[in-house]
Amino acid sequence: MNFWGYRRPDKKVGIRNHVLILPTCACSSETCRMVTMQVKGSIHISNQNGCAQVEDDLEITKQVLAGLAANPNVYGTILIGLGCENAQPKDMEGLILSKTNKPLKTLVIQEEGGTTATIRKAVEYAQQMVEDASKLQRKEFGLSELIVGTNCGGSDPTSGLAANPVVGSLSDSLVDLGSTSILCETTEFIGAEHVLAKQAATPEIAQQIYEIIKRYEDHLANVGQSLRNGNPSPGNKAGGITTLEEKSLGCIHKGGHRPIVEVFDYAKPPTKKGLVIMDTPGYDIASVTGIAAGGAQVMVFTTGRGTPTGNPIIPVIKMTANQSTYVKMQENIDFDASPVIRSEKSVDEMGAELLQEVLAVANGKGVKAEILGFNDIAISRLCNYV
């Protein structure tokens, strides 16, 4: 089984061909947006961070920004900094170049002499990059080049009953075909960690699963907060999910049944093929951003209540097994898994259909969130701004 993608100079394979206008910090974020308004084929991210952050928080931001530039769906990047920020443009440039040798240009607003002067140059660079990118043709690659993230948001009981098991079946197929499936959302392992630990390939990996949960709980305890406040959310409860362990037991079905071969930090790339875990928050937008920064080319996202979310870098395929949600939010949701609830199709039959959908999207089919123009970005954080 193969897919059609774009080979990058760093040997990775993308399924989209974006030119990314990347702000180092919040102060250059609007300038990046204005550049994309003038160059069709370019995208930007909205960056709330990059300055006034403690060291560990700044490191997370820098890894995410550089990771997004290195994502194989990106042809090349124009990095725009302000000049005085913590995420210094020169440092960011170096970090990006340490991850990829794709085209990169850097502009600094304070050196260029303001917004308009920066935009003028950035537009010229972006026009050239979009033209160069447009000359690339898709080629056929094996699924070992594909990294798929899985996520769930706005869950209800249909997520754990059907949508997440269908994603689990997809995940098993991907792993068997040599691909990589990333399970994430650490806060939604809580109460189900013992099930995941049994799935770990080694005792060390089982221990790492417990460690990332403890780290999360300790972190929240340090600031006097509890995970129980806000999880399950009001929408989860209205849908019929009562406790956190019930929510988690439904969530972890996304991982399927193959051994977990690696556990790694937020926004880092996996180094192994197979089923892996990235330590991300349960907050969907931040977790999808982390997965994109880790180099996944596509995300499969289950929902029960319905969500419109989409990421600028990677297509987010949204699915639900709640028929009424699918009907109500069809313009936002790509895949209907409700036949499983009605026992019309088995989880594995639906999983095989979902694999075909993932391949179609990899080959270029636009997902609903891309067509609507969604651009959601959130970068995970440790503490308040300084």
Partner: protein, 101 residues
Amino acid sequence: MREKINALVINSTDSVAVVIEPLEAGEAATYKVNGKEKSIAVKEPIPIYHKIALLDMEKGQGLYKYGEKIGCALQAIQAGQHVHTHNLVSIRETIKNRKEF
């Protein structure tokens, strides 16, 4: 006559089922366990996708879904009653207190 399946049980050890259509008091919740069809009388309205108790449970007793414990009963629960935040509470403590860690 075969009744329509209107509730799903995930694991044969579960103490709750998920109803896949809204059910009213007096109706039957019909589900399959290990391929065998079973039915219980619904005691109170259950909204779609919410949980119904499959057996009588005492206060403090563990409730199971997915074959795993999802919390314990805040009060005595009768088979056929709605199970949600009013009668089911989370029991997961922080991980430091767990024996596996």
